[in-house]
Symmetry: C2
Amino acid sequence: MAKGLLIVLSGPSGVGKGTVGNALRKRLPELTYSVSATTRQPRQGEENGVNYFFKTREQFLDMIEKDELLEYAEYVGNYYGTPRDFVERTIEQGNDIFLEIEVQGALKVREKFPEGIFIFLLPPSLDELKDRIRGRGTETQATIDHRMSVAVDEMNLMQHYDYAVVNDEIDLACKRIESIIIAEHCKIR
Amino acid sequence: MAKGLLIVLSGPSGVGKGTVGNALRKRLPELTYSVSATTRQPRQGEENGVNYFFKTREQFLDMIEKDELLEYAEYVGNYYGTPRDFVERTIEQGNDIFLEIEVQGALKVREKFPEGIFIFLLPPSLDELKDRIRGRGTETQATIDHRMSVAVDEMNLMQHYDYAVVNDEIDLACKRIESIIIAEHCKIR
């Protein structure tokens, strides 16, 4: 049986990975979506194994120790990571799995799964990205400048990806991602 | 300006290249379709420059001489070929061009355009292909056997292509080809 594909969606912060990822879940319900492990507390309505695998700090450190995570990172005092087991089992069963993660994490996944399909989500323009980063809330100019400089650095990592998809309209971005998945299944390897 | 893509659809005789090509014209009218040159007589309703570029034998031999054809072949006493000029002008203008040709011709085009996207149209099964070859008319068993053996030889050339698309349903085959074109435009080169 042919293995499934690992499809990784990434891109600079503020580009709309989460929004596109959620729209894709509705458009392609037959795709399996990777569930992250985290040490943060469950929020109202979040289910273990659905939204996240909720772990204690000790459990998470143990997963790192045993190389059970494809990548992980710490944000605001909490760990987030991608369990290797779920990804491997899904593709071994011949099903595709979809991963939506940060740029640095995606490059770590690429080291372990060079045969994965790595898609970089692009803003229509840098000005547009600035607007989106600014539009998030009431951050200071210094915070916005810092986030913008991080985003520009992240943009430079695009060259390590297989595909670039412009997030001009969510529907269009989803159609492009769906097309990439269909095309990859037709590829002669 | 980015160049357009050369998209070549080929596959064994009897697989339904023409049917899929025609369905694609309706689905993707914005795509430019290559027009072949031929020495055969125009049929009722056929227009020069639309269905074919109609040429005399002398004109055609002159085009061969001047390397103005990407590929050509002789069938039942008539020449058929792909004018290079039209293909090159279209992609230089940033537009995609679609070519639907025989397996051998496609491989000749690949020599001149290695960066083209080569799609191999597959029958759902060899039995299905046999049925289609048989279903064409009232040929003798020997003719059917010969066509079938040619088709099997042609199938072995699939490895030189980039993509394989199964022609199980015309709509599905068209959707896969459309997806390949969209995905190729997203590819980071």
